[in-house]
Symmetry: C2
Subunit: 764 residues, 2 copies
C-alpha cells in the first residue's frame, strides 16, 4: 500500500485490473458508472413505518408532473438538455479530489475553455434573450463549483464589465473574451477594502502629454486581492481605481489593464502578480493579487460609459455627483447576486436530495420484536432535520422565479423599467442573495450530519459543497452589508407610504400604527387561536412580522438620529435591520408560493405542496418566535405538534419529492445519493475506483463477500443468531427502563395520510 502522490496518474494503468472487481459492484453488469439517466423514474420510496425500503416500491405521487411544475413553464428543454449533455464530458467529470491546487486549476481552466467553446456562455446573449441566458446561468450548477465560479468571473464580472461599463471601442475585446481567446480578471477588492468599495486606493492618473492613464498601487493595503483568474490565467484585468485628472479625484472608474503577455503568459513589466494561495474551497479557481507600479495604459482603456476624459484632460459624465456615478458602476453586480440566489438553491437541493435518499435507505436500530430495522428517515428527530430543508427547496422556487422575471424584464429591449422597480430589484436581489445563502450554508451542515459517518466521505460531496458554497455568503457582496440595502429600501418605501397616505410627511412623524398598504388587520383579532396550518394565518403572520420590525427600525433610527447622528443610529438598529431583511424575504417567498400553489390543478400534488408550506412556515415561526410572539396568540405546543405531524406526513413522500428535483446522477455523483442501486455497493465502488493505488490485490479476497446480501431485506434477516435480538436497542441503555418485557411495539398501522383541503380553507 504505497503512498500515491497523484492518484489520477495511476488511474489508467490500474483500470483494467479493477474491471473484474467492478462487475460485482454493478449487479446488472454495466461497468460504466455513474448512471446518466436524466429523470429518475424508478425511484425508491419509503413507507417508513418500521422496516427498510426496497428499490421496487412505487412513487408516492406523480413525480413527473411535480418535476415539470417545479421546472416551470418557460424552460427551454432543448437548451437544458444541451447543457446537461455538455456536463457529461470527460473533462467536466474529471475527479479532482486529492489533487494539488495547481493541478485542479489546470483542469478547471480546461473546463472553462471547453464550456466557452460551446458558444452558449456569451454575456451578449443576455441582451438577445435574457430569459434563456438566465436559464444557461442556472444550468451552470451542472458543472463543478470551481468551473462555475471561474466561468462567472470571466462571463459576468470581466465580460460583464466590458459590456456594461464599456462602449463601442471595447466591443472587440469583449468578443475575444466571449470566445475565451482572452481570459480576464475583475479587480475590485483590495487587501484592505472589500465591502467599502468607495475607499479603494488604487489610482489612475491621466497624463495629457501621452494620452495615457498611469495605474498605481500606492500602498500594500491597496494591492488588488482575491481576484479570480489573476494568479495564473488572466491577461487583462478590469481594474477599479480612482480617476485623477488634474489633481482632481473623480472617484471610482474601471480601467482595462493588461497584466500578462498574451503569448508568453509572463507578467508584464511593473505589474506585480501573486497567488493568494490555498483557500477553504474552490481549489480550481486561481485567486491572485495584483499591484501596479505606475503602469501606463492607453486612454481608450477607460471603460467610459458613465464617465470619460477628453484628450486634453476635461472630465465629462452624465452624472453630476460621484455618488450617483458610483451607483451606476456598481449596479451591474446584480447579475452575480441573482446567480447566487439560484445556485444556492440548487446546492441546497442536491444536498437534501442526497441526505433524503440516504435516510430512506439507511436502517439503524429497530423495534425490539421485529426482524427488520428502522429506516433513519422514520425517526422524528431526523424528519425534523430534513423535512424543513426539503420544504424550503419548494417554497423558495417561486420567489426566485419572480426575481428572475423582474431581472430579465430589466434586460429586455422592449421594457422600460422604472427607477422604483430598479431600486426594488437591487434591494431584493441583495436581500435574497443573503438569506438564501445563509440558510443553505446552515442546511448543508445539517444534511452532512444527518448522513453520519458516510456523510464525511468526500465522495458524498457535503465537504466540497460546504467549502465551495460558504463563500456565496461573502463574495458578490457580504451578506450583512447586503441586507442593509434591502433594509434601507424598505424604510424608504415605508416613508413614502406615509407621504402618500398623508399620515405624515416625514419619518419623525411616524405614529404607532403601520399604514394600510402594509398590513390591514388588527393582530389581536385575527391571531387568537388561529388554524396554524392555514395559508391565511401564515401570510398574515409573516406580513405583520415584517411590518412590526420595519416600524420598530424606522422609529428607532428616526428617534436616535437627532441625538447620535444617522450613522450611529443606523448602527444601533443593525440587528433589527438584519431581521427585517429576513422577514421580508421570507414573506415574499411565502406569498409567491401560496399564489403558485393555488393554481395547481392536481389535488394530490396540491395537498403535498400545502404540507410543505406548513412545514416551512411553521419552522420559520418556531425559529423566530421572538419576532412572532407579540403578533400571534398561539400555544407553543400547537406550533410544535403541527410541525412534527406535517413532517411525518411529508416524510412518506420525501423520496419522490427529491426525485422531482430532477438532478441527474452524474451531476450528483454521490454514492449514498444515487437514484438506483444499493448504496453500500456504491460506497465500496467509489472507495476502490477513486483510490486505485491503495487497493492492490484485494479483488480476489472481496469476491464472495461482494455477492452476499445484495439487498437490504436479506441483510436484515441474515444476522447470525436470534439470541442476540434480545439485547438490541439497548445501547440507548436508559430506554430499557421504560421497556416492560411483555410489551410489543405495535405498527402505527396505515394511519390516514389524507388531509382535506380544509386544513387550508382560508385560501383567499
Amino acid at each position: 500500500m504505497s503512498p500515491v502522490s497523484n492518484p489520477s496518474l495511476q488511474h489508467t494503468t490500474q483500470q483494467r485490473r479493477l474491471s473484474a472487481l467492478y462487475k460485482h459492484l454493478h449487479p446488472n453488469g454495466a461497468a460504466t458508472a455513474p448512471d446518466h439517466n436524466l429523470t429518475t423514474k424508478i425511484s425508491p420510496n419509503a413507507t417508513l413505518k418500521f422496516g427498510s425500503i426496497t428499490e421496487t416500491q412505487q412513487q408516492s405521487f406523480d413525480v413527473e408532473s411535480m418535476a415539470e411544475w417545479l421546472l416551470g413553464p418557460n424552460t427551454n428543454q432543448k437548451l437544458r438538455q444541451k447543457i446537461l449533455a455538455m456536463s457529461k464530458a470527460d473533462i467536466i467529470r474529471t475527479p479532482m479530489l486529492n489533487l494539488p491546487k495547481e493541478e485542479q486549476r489546470r483542469i478547471t481552466t480546461e473546463q472553462i475553455k471547453y464550456i466557452l467553446a460551446s458558444g452558449e456562455y456569451r454575456i451578449s446573449l443576455m441582451k438577445q434573450n435574457p430569459s434563456e441566458m438566465m436559464q444557461r446561468l442556472e444550468c451552470m450548477t451542472f458543472f463543478p463549483a470551481s468551473a462555475s465560479v471561474k466561468l462567472g468571473v470571466q462571463l459576468l464580472l470581466f465580460s460583464g464589465s466590458l459590456m456594461n461599463l464599456g462602449t463601442e471601442r471595447h466591443k472587440d475585446v469583449l468578443r475575444r473574451a466571449e470566445k475565451g481567446e482572452i481570459m480576464g480578471a475583475f479587480g475590485m477588492t483590495e487587501l484592505a477594502h472589500g465591502s467599502a468599495v468607495q475607499k479603494l486606493e488604487t489610482t489612475a492618473t491621466y497624463d495629457p502629454d501621452t494620452k495615457e492613464f498611469v495605474i498605481n498601487t500606492p500602498s500594500k493595503n491597496a494591492l488588488k486581492w482575491w481576484l479570480g483568474n489573476a494568479a495564473c490565467t488572466a491577461t487583462l484585468c478590469s481594474v477599479f481605481a480612482r480617476l485623477i485628472v488634474k489633481d482632481q479625484d473623480y472617484g471610482i472608474h474601471v480601467f482595462l489593464v493588461p497584466i500578462r503577455d498574451e503569448k508568453t503568459k509572463q507578467p508584464l513589466p511593473d505589474v506585480i502578480i501573486g497567488d493568494c494561495g490555498d483557500k477553504q474551497g474552490l481549489h480550481g479557481v486561481d485567486n491572485g493579487f495584483l499591484g501596479f507600479k505606475n503602469v501606463r495604459i492607453p486612454k481608450d482603456n477607460l471603460l467610459n460609459r458613465f464617465g470619460d476624459v477628453t484628450d486634453d484632460g476635461e472630465y465629462t459624465s452624465q452624472f453630476s455627483s460621484n455618488a450617483r456615478r458610483f451607483g451606476a458602476h456598481m449596479g451591474e453586480l446584480i447579475t452575480g447576486r441573482v446567480s447566487i440566489v439560484f445556485s444556492s438553491l440548487q446546492v441546497r437541493r442536491a444536498s437534501v436530495l442526497i441526505a433524503t435518499r440516504y435516510a430512506a435507505r439507511r436502517v439503524q436500530f429497530g423495534a425490539p420484536d421485529r426482524t427488520g430495522e428502522q429506516s433513519i428517515l422514520s425517526y422524528r428527530s431526523h424528519q425534523m432535520k430534513l423535512m424543513p430543508i426539503l420544504a424550503s427547496c419548494y417554497v423558495y422556487e417561486f420567489s426566485k422565479r419572480d426575481l428572475v422575471r423582474k431581472y430579465t424584464s430589466l434586460h429586455s429591449p422592449d421594457t422600460k423599467i422604472s427607477d422604483d422597480d430598479l431600486a426594488e430589484l437591487h434591494a431584493l436581489s441583495a436581500g435574497m442573495k443573503a438569506v438564501f445563502s445563509w440558510d443553505t450554508q446552515k442546511y448543508l451542515e445539517i444534511c452532512r450530519e444527518a448522513c453520519g459517518g458516510h456523510g464525511y466521505s468526500a465522495y458524498n460531496r457535503f465537504g466540497s459543497m460546504i467549502n465551495d458554497h460558504t463563500i456565496f455568503q461573502t463574495f458578490e457582496g457580504d451578506n450583512t452589508v447586503l441586507v442593509q440595502q434591502l433594509g434601507g429600501f424598505l424604510m424608504k418605501e415605508f416613508a413614502k407610504q406615509f407621504q402618500k397616505n398623508q399620515v405624515g410627511a416625514v419619518l419623525n412623524m411616524i405614529g404607532s400604527r403601520i399604514g394600510s398598504a402594509i398590513a390591514t388587520i388588527n393582530p389581536a383579532q385575527v391571531f387568537t387561536n388561529p388554524n396554524v396550518k392555514s395559508s391565511n394565518f401564515q401570510v398574515q403572520a409573516f406580513r405583520h412580522r415584517t411590518a412590526s420590525i420595519l416600524q420598530t427600525c424606522a422609529q428607532q433610527i428616526n428617534n436616535q438620529r437627532k441625538k447620535k447622528g444617522f450613522v450611529n443610529a443606523w448602527n444601533d438598529a443593525l440587528p433589527q435591520i438584519v431581521s427585517l431583511a429576513r422577514a421580508y424575504v421570507e414573506q415574499y417567498a411565502l406569498e409567491q408560493y401560496v399564489s403558485q400553489v393555488r393554481r395547481v390543478k392536481n389535488r394530490e400534488l396540491r395537498t403535498i405542496l400545502k404540507r410543505l408550506r406548513n412545514i416551512w412556515a411553521l419552522t420559520v415561526i418556531k425559529d423566530n418566535f421572538l419576532d412572532f410572539v407579540n403578533i400571534i396568540n398561539v400555544k407553543p405546543e400547537s406550533i410544535r405538534k403541527a410541525l412534527e405531524s406535517q413532517c411525518e406526513k411529508v416524510s412518506t413522500h420525501a423520496v419522490s419529492l427529491v426525485d422531482a428535483f430532477n438532478i441527474p446522477d452524474h451531476v450528483l455523483d454521490a454514492p449514498i445519493g444515487l437514484s438506483k442501486g444499493n448504496y453500500m455497493d456504491h460506497i465500496l465502488r467509489y472507495a476502490i475506483e477513486r483510490n486505485p493505488g491503495n487497493h492492490e490485490n484485494i479483488e480476489g479476497l472481496l469476491e464472495g463477500i461482494l455477492e452476499s446480501n445484495d439487498n437490504l431485506t436479506t441483510q436484515a434477516t441474515s444476522r447470525p443468531s436470534a439470541s442476540a435480538e434480545r439485547s438490541h436497542q439497548s445501547s440507548l441503555s436508559e430506554q430499557t427502563l421504560f421497556h416492560s418485557s411483555t410489551e410489543k411495539a405495535e405498527s402505527n398501522g396505515d394511519e390516514s395520510d389524507v388531509e382535506s383541503d380544509s386544513d387550508d380553507e382560508m385560501e383567499q
Copy 2:
C-alpha cells in the same frame, strides 16, 4: 508562474531567495515566523467607538489574572509547558495544506511517533494520575487536528480497549502500543452499522480443536469501515465481533486481530485491507476498511475481562445478560466523549479568537464626516455574531471542568463511584459531547463569515477547523443518538424522584406539577417583569425550562406507550428529547458558571464575567424562545435590548477576553489572528511563504509598496483626495435617504462602561 505539484519540496530551494522579501514583512527584522510567545501580554485592545485600533493600546483589564482563572487552579503548569514545547517541533508544525492525503498521512504518522516517543501519552498514566492525564489530553489541541485524532485512535481507542477490556495476558501488547512500537486500529463500525453496535455482523467462532477463534466477515455490509490507522499504519486491530461458541451467539466481544505483517507492513493472508479514501477533513488520518475471510487467531486474543471461553468451549462471564455485558464493553467510550467536550471548546476558542482580533483590527466604512473608518467590531450586527460565541467560551469552561472532575474521580484508585454517579457521568458526557460539538460547529461558520473574504483563506484556518471539527458531531457516538442517553437518564431520575416523594410510584401517575427537587417556584409568580440580567432569573428560567420539557416528554411517552408501544412512543417524543438534553446541558453550564463567578474576588473581572453570562443566557433564551415563552413573562424587546447592550459593553473588552484564552501564536497559526503586528503584512507573508513557487520575481516590485502604510492610522488618512470623501458610505446607497447633508455623526463619547453589581443583586 509554473504550477508546482508539491510546494513543500520547493520550500528549501526558494527560502533564501525570499528572505530579502520577508524582512519587509517583519518590521522588527526578525525573519522567524510565527511569534512563539506563550502569553500574549501586549494585546491590542479596541476602544471601538469609531476609528481603528492601534497596537499600542492598553489591556482593558488584568488579562493575566483572567487567564489564570480560566486555566483553573489544578493545572500542572510544568506539564503544560512541556507539551507546548513539544508542539513547536518542526515535525508538528510542518505545513500540510495542498499536499495529497498520502503525504499528509505520512507526516501525521511521523508526528504520532514523535509524540508517543515523549512518553507523555500512555493510557496507563490514566490510572496513575487521572487528573494529569486529562490535562495531557486537553493539551492535544496544541497538535494538528489529524495528529490529535490519530493519536486518539492509538491511545484512547486501541490502547484503551487493551487496558479496559483486556487482562494480564494483554499487558505486553499494551506496553508496546504505548511506545508506538505497535500501531493499532479500533474495529467497531461496519459499513452497515455505526450507532447500532449490537447489530454488528462480524463473527468470531470458537474452534475447540485448535483453541482458536475464526474471525469472519459474512457479508459486504459487515466490512469494518472507517477505522482510523487501518488504511496504512496498523498491524493489529481490536475487532468487535459476535462471539459464537457451540452455535450459541453470546453477543459482541472484542478480539485482537493481526492485520499486517509487523516487518513488511503487508496485509496478512485472508485479511482484506482497503482505503476509505478522501474525506471532508482529517486528511492525515488513514481511515480504512477491513474484511476477514475466516482468519484464525489464538484464543488468548479475546479481550477477556468481561467474558471468556474455556479451552473446551464453555462460556463464562460475570454478567448474566448480554445487554449488561454489552454495556460494560461500550462504557469505555466515555473517555473519547469527554475528550471531545474539551477539544470542541478549544476549537471554539481558537476560532472566536481569530475572528475577534480580526474584527478589532479590520476597518470598513465609517462615519461620513470622519477621516478614519470604523472597526468592524463596532458594528452591532458584528457584536451580535461574535459576543455570544465569546461568552459561551467562558460559560462552558466550568461545566466542562466539573465533568472532568467527575470523570477523573471515576478513575482514581481511592474513590469508589456509585452506580448512580456512573450512570450520570455516562449520560452527562454523552449530552455534553453533543451540545458542545453542535454549537461549536455552528459558531465556526459564523466566525468564518465574520472575517469576510480573508476568512476564506485556508491560512486563516476556519476551513480546516470546520472540516476537521464537524466529525466530532458523529464519531464517538452520533449526537442525536447520544442525547437520547441523557434524555433517558433524566426521565429515569424523574421517575425516581416521584417514587421518593411518594407523589406516585409509577410514571403513568405523574400529575401536572414537577416535584420540588427539580423546581421550587411557581413560574407565574417569579417570572413576571423580572430583571433579565439577574443570575437568579436566569437560573430559575433555565431550571423551569428543563423541568417543563422533562415533564412533557415523560408524560407523552407514558401516555402513548400503551397505545403504540414504547419504541413508537419514544420515537414520537424524539424532537422533545433532543430539546431536553440541550436544556439540561445549558442549565448545568449556567449553574456551574454562576457558582464559580461568585467566588471571583476581583470586582472588575467579576463585572465582565457577569456580562458574559448575561450575553450567553439571553442568547439561549432568544434562540429557544418557544421553550421559554410559557415560563417567563418578559417582553421580547427587553430580551433583545439587554442582549444588544451587553454585547456592546463586552465588545470593548473582547480583545483582552480572547487574549486570556492564552492560545499561543504558533498554535493559532492564522495571519489575521496573530497576537502582534499588522494583519495585512501577515496575510501577504503567508501567501508568499506558503507558495514560494508561485511568487517568482516579485521581490523587487514589492519593495516600496511594502514600506508604505505600516500602521492603520497612516492608511486611514492617506487617501488620495478629499473630494472622494463626499460620496463614501453610499454603497449602502439607500442609507443616503436618511442622510441630511448638514448632519454630523457624533461620537458616542466615552459612555460609562461601569455597571454596578446590582445588575445581579439577586445572587443567592
